[in-house]
Symmetry: C2
Subunit: 284 residues, 2 copies
């Protein structure tokens, strides 16, 4: 099958990441629809800029789409899947969210119970606005069917083995490092500050861990602004470790750190380094 | 005061790290004594090679030393300090171990109660056998007094402000990253393996996190062989975070990871990467 306008992809929802995923399909001239009901002005603006067609309501998406792609905060992934299937969707459902493989396999059951095809997805990288930065991993029997509609845009789509849960597990394992270590780094700054040795630690890091100095300002500031939506992702990662009999404390702690930073939601900037550490300590 | 043979430093004990610390003092022609009672053949060999004088018993160290330096596994730090002071030591006591600042301040009280001077120490880097690799941080009023006896060897000694606890806090904050992230890395390998996505994760890391690929074999193998003595250090780090009202789960989890690897004690090699992951999973 060749990607063309005879396929319609329903996008839930055109946030910053979701919109870039939809743009990946638009690059292959695929029709992408979305529903503006209860969505913000910023989402409307993004959706229009990326050439998505507004069908107003979720049931129109369900009725017109052969494929629905869910890109939402992880804590809403199961609810979104349930709503879509309660409305009678029987097409191919792609959950591309940062959820535990166990959560993904639960969603697979909802899909199967309603006669649809489930594809598990995991997105690694920033919103896909530049070739080479972002990969969407897909697993499940229908993964190749979905991937063909993304072969021309900035988003690279990679099909992997393992069925439902594999792409989510890969995402969890990947983010376990990137977001887990950002939280740890913020926590260490706070500790050094609390114990009065922050300057000494920075001097030592400058000698032996220079990459941490580089990461401490811009990297932590960026993480602080996104912290509100990292909390549930850290909980999903912790569940993934626990579900495999492995220590989960790294990510229950990371969730705690991000919870303390959740007030930076919607801010156009946040402090890094020592100022972020001061903020974390005030929340303790 | 100039460093010379009129000062005697007692070394507890000449393990790999401790012996290199003593060698730092020997480079300034300081007399370094140790006690072979209950110590291994390997320790005797090291002590002789580094030119330390064997005075056989702990009470001879206490009677002959102006400075005693404790370098031992963190779980024995308080016990060693208690023994030395129960024998009547009133000189300058340096605890250079990887202990929480709270533990260090408890030891400071033992020293003060017995009329001695306490210097807190924290060692960062491998055993000091090469200039530029290893720094011993010291804090407390007598830190400059101690540091003068280490000005010629491979060990760099740095005095910092903050009194008892500062040097230990710096060590905790430093090791929180280095050893904490090694444990996290091993845990992630195990997770990816358990979920059947290890090859996919390695492919992704090769593209976007190449430094983790490099760290995964040699770095994790080295950590596994030392895991048995990292357990108590992770516990001390966790206590340091908790004592400052910060999340401690990163390091309670790291302690769990290292506990599972403790059987590699005394091995001349240990697996890294995927084989270490298999081992961790079998212990879950």
């Amino acid at each position: 099958m060749t990607a063309d306008a005879t396929v319609t992809i329903g996008l839930l929802h055109p946030g910053e990441m979701g919109s870039s995923i939809g743009a990946g399909a638009r690059a292959s001239a695929v029709r992408v629809i979305w529903a503006s009901d209860e969505r913000s002005d910023a989402t409307c603006t993004r959706a229009e800029a990326d050439g998505f067609e507004d069908v107003a309501w979720l049931n129109a998406i369900v009725n017109q789409s052969q494929i629905i792609v869910s890109v939402c905060p992880p804590e809403f992934a199961t609810e979104v899947a349930s709503e879509v299937h309660a409305l009678g969707f029987r097409g191919t459902y792609v959950d591309a969210n940062a959820i535990a493989p166990m959560t993904s396999r639960d969603i697979a059951k909802i899909v199967a119970r309603n006669g649809g095809n489930y594809v598990d997805g995991g997105i690694i990288g920033p919103p896909a606005r530049q070739l080479g930065t972002t990969r969407m991993y897909l697993s499940g029997d229908s993964a190749p069917f979905v991937s063909q509609f993304f072969d021309k845009g900035d988003l690279e789509v990679i099909c992997i083995d393992g069925g439902a849960g594999a792409a989510s597990a890969l995402k969890m394992a990947y983010a376990a490092w990137t977001k887990g270590t950002s939280a740890l780094l913020a926590n260490i700054h706070a500790l050094a500050l609390a114990e009065g040795v922050h300057d000494d630690l920075m001097n030592e890091w400058r000698q032996s861990q220079i990459e941490l100095i580089k990461r401490s300002d811009e990297g932590l500031s960026s993480a602080a602004m996104k912290a509100w939506r990292f909390v549930a992702e850290m909980d999903e990662i912790a569940s993934t470790f626990a579900g495999n009999g492995l220590p989960d404390g790294f990510h229950t702690a990371a969730a705690d750190v991000y919870r303390r930073l959740a007030d930076f939601k919607g801010h156009s900037n946040a402090p890094g380094g020592v100022e972020l550490a001061q903020y974390l300590l005030r929340r303790s």
